[in-house]
């Protein structure tokens, strides 16, 4: 319960800014710095040469080099990176195509009572995916889809649909009904209304849902591991293999980790404020 008392202290400090506030700010900054230090250390190590990366005690001031990045890219990561881009981008597009109409249908009045459907869709998101893994594996094997990137694309689409529908629905709730009525008066059909009236208003929602779906699919490891082989392995699968085989070469492995996580970091920064909403669905994976 220390959280509560400390935060109460902070409330006091806002208006009487002086000394205690400064101390608190400094403490907060130190904690923040400690928090990012593992990531900073990884970044620093990735720019060290292998001998410097392996010293004990650690050498903080060693000269910087791009050697680690060079040897990572020489190890042939491109096919897996392309697979990952493909799997996350295509599945994200599919999610939007399916989720936007569904969210619209769920948010307009005639189907209000379908909130049970929404309930069902959402519950799907929280199932431990391990639970369905084996039947999916067997199914994929039977239809000859193992080690096929399209299988992953389909699963990532289904995996991210509920959260996208949920997010988009709350954006759609903010579309003023006068706009819909105006479209109706002008004689616009359902599809036209969706395209010309609703879509522009929910554009920010579409963008943040897309970023979140991208992050989730990019990070996914379990399905990717079980359902892909050499041809369609994704970047995280490649990375775990790389860590296992090259684990002793720290600089190389740190460089690899950074390259593989760069897309989600960029997407994460772009979605930072909107992510709160997606996260409250409890679904970062």
């Amino acid at each position: 319960m220390s959280g509560k008392t400390l935060s109460t202290g902070q409330v006091e400090n806002v208006h009487k800014q002086p000394r205690s506030g400064v101390i608190l700010s400094i403490t907060a900054w130190v904690v923040g710095l400690m928090f990012v230090s593992p990531v900073l250390w990884m970044i620093l190590t990735s720019f060290h040469s292998e001998p410097d990366a392996a010293t004990n005690p650690p050498s903080f001031g060693a000269p910087l080099t791009l050697e680690g990045y060079r040897s990572f890219f020489e190890s042939g990561p491109w096919p897996s990176l392309i697979n990952s881009v493909m799997a996350s981008v295509v599945s994200t597009l599919l999610v939007l195509v399916l989720a936007f109409p569904a969210a619209y249908a769920l948010s307009i009045r005639p189907v209000r009572k379908w909130s049970d459907v929404l309930f069902f869709l959402l519950s799907t998101k929280f199932l431990p995916i391990v639970a369905g893994l084996l039947p999916i594996y067997l199914f994929a094997k039977k239809v000859g889809m193992l080690d096929n990137i399209w299988l992953l694309i389909v699963f990532y689409t289904v995996m991210n649909l509920p959260i996208a529908i949920w997010m988009l629905r709350s954006f759609l709730a903010e579309v003023p009904s006068e706009m819909l009525e105006a479209a109706e008066v002008d004689g616009a059909g359902l599809i036209l209304t969706l395209r010309k009236v609703v879509a522009p208003v929910v554009m920010p929602g579409l963008a943040s849902a897309a970023l979140i779906c991208f992050i989730f699919s990019w990070n996914e490891l379990l399905f990717a591991r079980v359902l892909t082989g050499t041809v369609s392995q994704t970047a995280p699968v490649y990375l775990t293999g790389f860590v296992t085989s090259q684990g002793l070469f720290l600089a190389k492995v740190c460089a690899a980790s950074l390259v593989v996580s760069l897309p989600v970091l960029v997407a994460g920064f772009a979605a930072q404020d909107k992510l709160v909403q997606g996260l409250s669905m409890g679904a970062v994976r």
């Binding site: 409330v11 593992p38 392996a54 569904a102 649909l161 990070n219």
Partner: protein, 296 residues
């Protein structure tokens, strides 16, 4: 093309279009998520080994479940680890995350960078989080041993590895919880806070009487999220050592049994079903709250 008759009544064709918009994603879910899950439940009553034809599998009733709880040594440790995982992530990450959220809500100077630094681990995959901490924990090359001179193998020694993994898990979860509370704090009525100030309420009272009640439903969401996350804490443990030697979790046992060398499908499915049962209780609680919030 049928005309759109406003949001109260829509024409026959549009009604079908609207229905399809919902039915298609729902069917996809049923087919690719629920059917496999039900498949696991059914397999859990058989002795199928995954190699022969599924028709040869014998129906065993509850035998797999009996075996799991009585003669499978890693099961109870895994349950215990899952419970420890839940307790620690909840009790450590929750107060920390709440504290940080309140701090950020006050918009302290530079709070943007500050928020980003806590938010950073949230977007990273759990597998990567496991590896980042490997850099800290490694016995011979790790930063911790390098700075302190200790020779503990943090990830390898079963005395410490669960706790080491938990530090990494909390590291990520704190930012996550912070974001949840931050979203909740946005809902605190500013005028109410002002009024309390005018009435001369001290800050402590203001927090407990005005801010905390708004956060109350979030507390439950955070608890449920912690439960669900602890049941799914798979990737992190898997990259450390595939969930062995002190790091057994229910999810890793499932994976070891169905895709591992052993290939005891019925048995692994029983474990998966147990996981499903536990999580569905919490999923139901969580959704009740989320839906109720949504309807306000």
């Amino acid at each position: 093309m049928a005309r759109y008759k406003g949001i109260n009544q829509i024409s026959g064709v549009d009604r079908i279009v609207v229905a399809l918009m919902i039915v298609v994603p729902t069917l996809l879910m049923v087919w690719l998520v629920w059917l496999p899950a039900i498949g696991s439940v059914l397999l859990s009553f058989t002795n199928w080994n995954g190699i022969g034809s599924i028709g040869d599998a014998k129906f065993l009733g509850l035998k797999n479940y009996h075996d799991v709880t009585t003669i499978y040594p890693p099961f109870w440790p895994a349950v215990r680890h899952n419970l420890i995982w839940l307790a620690v992530t909840f009790l450590v990450a929750t107060p920390l995350g709440m504290f940080l959220a309140v701090l950020l809500d006050k918009e302290m100077r530079g709070s943007r960078i500050y928020q980003t630094s806590f938010y950073l681990p949230v977007v990273l995959s759990l597998a990567l989080v496991g590896f980042i901490w490997q850099l800290m924990y490694s016995r011979d090359q790790g930063l911790i041993n390098g700075l302190t001179g200790s020779t503990i193998d943090w990830y390898g020694d079963p005395k410490y590895n669960l706790w080491a993994a938990l530090v990494a898990a909390c590291w990520r979860q704190t930012g996550y919880i912070m974001l949840l509370y931050l979203a909740g704090l946005k809902g605190v009525d500013v005028s109410l806070r002002e009024a309390a100030k005018v009435d001369g309420a001290n800050e402590r009272t203001t927090f407990f009487k005005i801010v905390f009640p708004v956060l109350a439903p979030i507390n439950i969401i955070v608890l449920v999220v912690s439960v669900i996350e602890s049941l799914r804490a798979f990737d992190l443990v898997w990259v450390i050592n595939k969930g062995r030697n002190g790091l057994e979790l229910i999810a890793t046992l499932v994976t070891q049994n169905i895709v591992g060398e052993a290939s005891r499908i019925g048995f692994g499915s029983a474990l998966a079903t147990i996981m499903l049962l536990i999580s569905s209780v919490f999923i139901a609680i969580y959704l009740r709250i989320v839906m109720r919030e949504d309807q306000r």
